[in-house]
């Protein structure tokens, strides 16, 4: 007991740690990161994660192309990003070390699986000499652990074959890192027992490997490297750790609950959006219908068909899918039916970077249909914000009878953060009424139903098939307002084009005004949208802590903009827009408000870090 107490005394407390787990695609690094995250969340740290994996399911083992990484930032205070340069790198093989070493901070701790640093793997990673011996890691704190052999060793006693035992080496790594950074063991043990229920040998192997990692820390006298991060002081409440795609799925279910209409998802698998299809498919007891269509076009078509029938039609995809859905979106604009179109953006053009993040679909969302085909656009700013934005998208769609584009991205989709659970009673109340009465008179004086008569929101009635006496036809051909009859007259088309534009702009009336944060009276305003929120918020915080005055505003609504955006922009000498594209929001702001907005671009497939944003904002303001 004394021994333990002494060791505990040696643990140094720090405000935050950034750890990066890296290994071969088959090494289970995503799972390891995920378990570490879960234990940290339950421990009460604030955190943010960034999983990064190759597009290939299993790239050749041991190669740089096959490196899969998971970064987690844990903190004792509120944080908004997965961190800049990691303080700790776990490298399961030479390729992981080579791929990741330049990302970590000078002097960082590097934990390596020495068993993997043999000739073949070194050659595959392109190392002529062993980096553990040639001075490559000089200046770093190096922790060498023969993870594979020690895992095999402990597994031998419980009767697990060496080949199977090797698969548990990620739990050795997890055990070691958990010991070093004072993570509780219990959540991981519970998880192992539930996950591998019925496979007793696997449970035993993983538990043994985890404990062996723990023990290695103790026996190898690594106490000097031990650190602890206290729980964060977050607002009181119940929390869960959530990624963007799960939050988005739940937001859609919540919106369906609030509006009282069933969900219909038409989707075609595509990275990084497929997890929404997977998640919603699990919740059929909420009345959610999911349909894996034959292609992206059928996916949006089926969703539109369901909307016509009175469901909340949803389609989920990534950029390439939006390109394919364009014609159907134009039809939805013309039909004026509710439809939720979700774009989990990834690097483009074409196949581009399927597993890497980018936010370069804004112009496609805005203009990517033929003709004047305006669609409202909303964007999520953090993993948990995906929940709220999904509800907002449904609100706009059903109130205004319009397709709505919801933009998220690969970073939000897979990244996680603690989320204070909302109370169901506090969720926005949504409602919609289907048309039930005739609203027009034909030439012979009979009561008829006209599908394009508008209410005060300029929305047309949603009259679903099956409703008594409201038989009507709608279509993509230009129609006359009111009656909905086909009408090709020049003045009618001019009228309808302007009307469709106006009715979408009118949505601004129900968008809450934006609030500027930071130094409201600064000269410089940072305008953000989407997943840059975390990095911008962190960067602005650092600049202000250093005595610089900066204001920040973040946009959820990209079309139409919040009603006070123009007035806000007009108050600042400098408007700077960090974007993960070449300046798409910047261009929209310049066009709409004649403001000299300047872009800070990043298109490397990686999110901004706060540190680089600080430097680049300073460049712009100097």
């Amino acid at each position: 007991m004394t021994d333990t107490a002494d060791r505990t005394d040696e643990i140094r407390e720090v405000e935050r740690i950034i750890i990066r787990f890296a290994g071969d695609s088959g090494d289970g690094m995503q799972l390891t990161g995920d378990r570490f995250t879960s234990a940290s969340a339950l421990f009460g740290n604030d955190l943010a994660t960034l999983p990064e994996f190759p597009a290939e399911i299993r790239a050749p083992a041991g190669t740089l192309a096959g490196v899969s990484a998971f970064q987690i930032h844990i903190s004792d205070h509120d944080i908004t990003t997965p961190g800049d340069a990691p303080n700790v790198l776990v490298a399961m093989n030479p390729a992981a070390l080579k791929a990741e070493l330049d990302k970590i901070e000078p002097g960082a701790t590097v934990i390596v699986n020495t068993d993997a640093f043999e000739e073949r793997n070194l050659a595959k990673a392109g190392y002529a000499d062993n980096p553990l011996e040639d001075g490559t890691l000089d200046g770093y704190t190096k922790i060498e652990a023969p993870m594979t052999s020690l895992t095999k060793e402990v597994c031998k006693d419980i009767g697990v074959k060496p080949r199977d035992a090797e698969r548990s080496k990620n739990f050795f790594a997890l055990g070691l890192v958990s010991w070093l950074y004072s993570r509780p063991e219990e959540p991981t043990m519970i998880w192992i027992r539930e996950k591998f229920k019925g496979r007793d040998l696997v449970i035993a192997a993983n538990e043994a490997a985890y404990r062996a990692g723990n023990a290695f820390g103790e026996t190898a006298e690594l106490s000097a490297s031990r650190l602890a991060v206290r729980p964060a002081k977050l607002p009181a409440g119940t929390y869960t750790n959530i990624n963007g795609n799960t939050a988005l799925s739940w937001g859609l279910i919540a919106a369906s609950h609030q509006v009282g209409l069933p969900l219909f998802l038409g989707s075609y698998p595509i990275t990084p959006a497929s997890d929404i299809l997977h998640e919603l498919s699990k919740h059929k007891n909420f009345g959610v219908r999911t349909f894996q269509a034959e292609d992206e076009i059928a996916a949006v078509g089926s969703a539109l068909g369901a909307s016509y029938g009175g469901h909340i039609g949803i389609t989920t995809t990534s950029g390439p899918g939006i390109a394919l859905k364009g014609e159907t979106l134009g039809l939805a604009v013309s039909l004026e039916l509710p439809l939720i179109v979700i774009d989990i953006q990834r690097g483009g053009p074409s196949t581009g970077l399927p597993t890497k993040t980018e936010a370069a679909d804004l112009m496609m969302a805005m203009y990517g249909r033929h003709g004047e085909a305006p669609m409202p656009i909303v964007a999520a700013s953090s993993p948990s914000d995906c929940f709220d934005v999904a509800i907002e998208a449904v609100r706009i769609a059903v109130q205004y009878r319009t397709p709505v584009m919801l933009l998220s991205d690969g970073y939000l989709a897979n990244g996680t953060e603690p989320w204070k659970l909302p109370s169901v009673d506090d969720l926005p109340r949504l409602s919609v009424e289907f048309a039930s009465e005739t609203n027009g008179m034909d030439d012979e004086g009979r009561e008829v139903f006209w599908p394009y008569v508008r209410n005060e929101d300029m929305a047309r009635p949603w009259a679903i098939p099956g409703t008594d006496g409201l038989m009507h036809r709608i279509g993509g051909i230009e129609k006359q307002d009111g009656t909905g009859n086909i009408n090709y007259a020049p003045e009618n088309h001019d009228f309808m084009v302007r009307l469709r534009d106006e009715r979408i702009r009118k949505i601004a009336e129900t968008i809450p005004p934006l609030e500027v944060t930071g130094d409201v009276d600064a000269d410089t305003l940072i305008v953000g949208w989407g997943s840059t929120w975390g990095a911008i918020t962190s960067a602005v915080g650092r600049m202000r802590a250093a005595g610089e005055k900066v204001a920040q505003v973040h946009l959820t609504h990209l079309h139409p903009f919040a009603p006070n955006l123009g007035q806000i922009l007009g108050q600042y000498e400098r408007v700077i827009v960090p974007e993960m594209n070449l300046g798409q929001l910047t261009a929209l702001l310049r066009a709409e408000f004649l403001v000299d907005a300047r872009v800070i671009s990043k298109v490397s497939g990686q999110p901004f870090t706060a540190g680089e944003l600080v430097a680049r904002i300073q460049e712009e303001t100097r």
């Binding site: 409440g237 078509g301 099956g466 036809r473």
Partner: protein, 336 residues
Amino acid sequence: MTAVPLTTKKDWSSDQEVRWCPGCGDYSILTAMQLLMPEIDRRREDTVFISGIGCAARFPYYMNTYGMHSIHGRSPAIATGLAMARPDLDVWVVGGDGDMLSIGGNHLIHALRRNVNLTILLFNNQIYGLTKGQYSPTSEVGKVTKSTPMGSLDHPFNPISLALGAEATFVARTHDMDRGHMQEMFRRAHAHKGAALVEVYQNCNVFNDGAFGAITKKDARDAMLIDLKHGEPVRFGAENERGVMITDDGAQIVNVADVGEDKILVHDETADRGIAFALSGLAQDRESPTPIGVFRAVDRQEYGEAASAQLAAAQEANGPGDLDMLLRSLPTWDVS
């Protein structure tokens, strides 16, 4: 269920002026449908026509039901979503050979193999009409059109063979010159649970006039139309003197007297798909005797019903969705 009121053709006709070319085969199909509808035990409110683009696709505008004139080729996909969301509705899909077999070919075969509860009418006139006369995926090889001045090179689809290949559960053919036969096929297709495809030979009197004249005009029908009837020998001709025999080479047209009556195929709509496929191969050109009627009608799980059953099973197993429980379904922790 709301009671179905008595209706007439007029009740099923919308107030829209019909804008097909005078003499178009589509008129007779529309009339057949509007006359048939009062006999089908469904309300106009519960009936939806969905179409894509093309001359045929104007059909929904003329029916006093719910209707959607959508975009080129996508009607089976849109109709699939509607039929899944609203199994209480009768969903009809109408399109031409370009709409359904060219730009929308993918959606058609997937709707058929899934067996979504749709009644699909494919108006086949073997030409693109609305774009003014290019060859279509059912045009014969060598067809000279605006886009193929030296003759088309494409081998055509046989829509019946294609549908059978996609494992459709109901496949039939009819033609625009025989209202009674059309109505019988539409009635059967409508009654079928699952995806039903009816190919309608339809004359385009502007760009492909007389394409089916050799088989559909009154004085040719006896010799050229093979009327498939379930449980009856497949025979045709003025004196029923010809028939169809299945051999190792497929379906053969023979003189009954030459082979004997017992060698003549007895039509079975539920038989092995191979026989229906052999029959579909009989109409290889516009001069050959052509089978019409129901090639195949079999039972298979209907898609929308199966999807609804999964929802019911999930509710049975897990109870109706509880939002608060959902939000707490991942590990949680409390901060005080």
